[in-house]
């Protein structure tokens, strides 16, 4: 694993922002750090970028100790929520900044810098806007410039701090797809901070859920959704109702309704956490009928494999340990949005 974080701890004036965090990120992986605000996501990101030092723990990349390296030596690209573009520089100068400030000797020639800038402008689909100032761009365009600027230094690790947090829902969704597309093209190892579960599940190869400075669970979106390690994770991913029940002799009883308890269920009083999409309504004859429709799932479609009736025929009880179903790995072969679509998004986002 190129990025390895061990036992990372950080406190601010008695407040524990990070509590013994351990995390591994694989080569070329797209990992989302998901958690409510105050869970330590941004602190973790800042430590990786070299903007903060932890109180204890280790961060290593490709075997190198990150914590003793300067940000320049780390070669980490960071994209801020509010873009942090250099307001007095044009788009082209913004993108070229990381190359221009390299010490003489490591600095590419002017022609090379210009070539790299136009290559990146093409990648983020902002050709023709290189002479504009950040204030003359829409939010979505600014964030794409910020990404191009971060990619210009050919980072070994790309960090994104709620990059779409300041954008409206439509632009967000378009940019999200586009970001995944860029990731697939560049293959750079990426860590993405968000508090939006839909965004994390849609984008990431794996999602790490943070709560109060601790990692609750790290798993693929589908695993996370189907096998949450804790009530918090299940609840945080959304769409669940919690019902009090009891398990006696392998039978789950909830409000007068009885069903076989899943394997490994705890015995005694339990909380049944169910998502609407796992319930199928029937007419009471015991046959759910062929037109029983599961409710709409918040899990992005790339992780869903079931059409109507494809799931089990009865409501499945899942006290945090649902029966395992084979995950659909359509995720890895999911087609990316065509380029035209992103372009349209860019134009629509313009003022």
């Amino acid at each position: 694993m190129p990025l390895s974080i061990q036992n990372l701890t950080k406190t601010f004036r008695g407040f524990t922002a990070l509590d013994a965090i351990a995390l591994e990120v694989g080569e070329g992986e797209f990992l989302a750090l998901l958690g409510p605000s105050g869970s330590g996501k941004t602190t973790l990101l800042r430590i990786m970028a070299g903007l903060d030092q932890p109180d204890a723990g280790a961060v290593a990349f490709d075997g190198e100790d990150f914590l003793v390296q300067t940000p320049r030596q780390r070669r980490v690209g960071l994209v801020f929520q509010h873009y942090a573009l250099f307001r007095h520089m044009t788009v082209a100068d913004n993108i070229a900044f990381g190359l221009k400030v390299r010490p003489r000797g490591q600095r590419p020639s002017k022609a090379d810098i210009a070539a790299r800038v136009s290559e990146l402008l093409r990648l983020v689909q902002l050709e023709g806007l290189e002479k504009r100032y950040p204030a003359q761009l829409s939010g979505g365009q600014r964030q794409r410039v910020a990404l191009a600027r971060a990619l210009a230094i050919q980072p070994r690790l790309l960090l994104l701090d709620e990059p779409f947090g300041a954008l409206d829902a439509k632009v967000r969704r378009e940019l999200r797809r586009w970001l995944r597309h860029i990731h697939n093209e560049t293959g750079v190892t990426t860590v993405f901070v968000t508090h939006d579960q839909e965004e994390a599940l849609d984008l990431a190869d794996r999602v790490a859920i943070l709560k109060d400075g601790r990692i609750e669970q790290v798993a693929t979106p589908l695993d996370l959704y189907q096998h949450p390690a804790s009530a918090f994770v299940h609840d945080f991913l959304g769409g669940a109702v919690h019902l009090p029940g009891e398990v006696v002799d392998g039978v789950l009883a909830v409000d007068g309704w009885r069903a076989p308890a899943p394997d490994g269920s705890p015995v005694g009083p339990v909380v049944l956490a169910v998502r609407g999409e796992d319930l199928i309504l029937s007419d009471g004859s015991g046959d759910p009928g062929s037109d029983g429709q599961p409710a709409r799932s918040p899990l992005p479609s790339r992780h869903r494999d079931r059409g109507p009736g494809a799931g089990s025929r009865a409501p499945r009880a899942r006290p945090h340990c649902p029966a395992r179903r084979r995950p659909d790995r359509a995720a890895s072969t999911r087609p990316h949005p065509p380029v035209q679509r992103v372009k349209r998004a860019g134009r629509e986002a313009a003022p």
């Binding site: 960071l78 942090a84 250099f86 307001r87 600027r149 210009a152």
Partner: protein, 280 residues
């Protein structure tokens, strides 16, 4: 009239504009006009007479010298103070911010007097200065110290609100892109505040050249040696040389007008860039 009225009261705007213009004419334009009118009361020859004596020229030179020393120093200090206050958290930050404002609220006479109390013949450091053979009061050094104290807040006060509003994100972005401290300062911080810095420097300069009270206390009014332009004006006036006093005063007034002109020209020349960077 524009389609959108911002005030609920009809016809109030012309009235308010009229009152403001009248007041401005009364307290700014009229006195300024008087200065020029009085200076030329005995024609161009009378006006030029005021500059025939060497003391007048030495006053001009001294004023420029004092400003040339104190303005850059206070520009540097203002930048450092604003950087420190807006980019770091530390104990006593509120106190430092208040201290920077202090020269604004203290009478300039006091700002001059403190140097006499410190470095005068009966001052705290008098024995030390005597032993070293250095004199501060009644010398150019004293004038510079008094001017620095009085003009200390101008640059810092311009920069602090702007740098607070802009935040440190751009500098942090520069750090992650591999920029060193100097590159961050010269390519990110300084360009972002250059207009506020320039404005602060112009204000600081205007005050440095025009300061009377503090400078008067430490100067000793030695003609040709420690008389700045404002002090020279007072001396001439006290000697009933009204034309000479007003003629010299036109130099000061012109310096102020030129300052204003430069500022307006720069704002006009870089209007696009200003608009672009402010809207961000």
């Amino acid at each position: 009239m524009s389609a959108v009225r911002r005030s609920p009261v009809r016809g109030l705007a012309p009235l308010l504009i009229g009152v403001a213009l009248l007041w401005l004419a009364l307290v700014v334009l009229l006195p300024l006009g008087m200065v020029f009118a009085e200076a030329f009361r005995r024609g161009l020859d009378g006006f030029l007479d005021a500059f025939s004596e060497p003391d007048a020229w030495s006053a001009v030179r001294l004023t420029l010298l004092v400003a040339a020393i104190s303005v850059p120093l206070n520009a540097l200090f203002g930048l450092a103070a604003a950087w420190c206050i807006t980019r770091y958290e530390f104990r006593g930050k509120a106190l430092l911010t208040t201290l920077i404002d202090l020269p604004f609220s203290v009478s300039p006479v006091i700002s001059g007097l403190v140097w006499v109390l410190l470095f005068g013949t009966a001052g705290w450091f008098a024995p030390l200065l005597d032993a070293l053979g250095v004199r501060v009061i009644f010398t150019v050094t004293g004038l510079v110290l008094a001017t620095i104290l009085v003009t200390l807040p101008f640059v810092a006060r311009e920069l602090i609100p702007l740098m607070q509003q802009q935040g440190a994100d751009e500098e942090l972005a520069a750090v992650t892109l591999g920029a060193g401290p100097w590159a961050i300062f010269s390519r990110v911080t300084l360009p972002n505040v250059r207009w506020a810095l320039l404005y602060g420097v112009l204000l600081c300069n205007a005050r440095a050249m025009g300061e009377f009270g503090a400078v008067s206390v430490v100067s000793g009014h030695i003609r040709g040696l420690t008389n700045t332009l404002p002090l020279h004006v007072e001396i001439l006036y006290n000697e009933y040389d009204f034309v000479g006093a007003f003629a010299t005063a036109t130099v000061l007034a012109s310096l102020a007008l030129v300052t204003l002109l430069i500022k307006s020209l720069l704002e006009w020349r870089f209007a696009d860039e200003l608009a672009a960077t402010r809207r961000h």
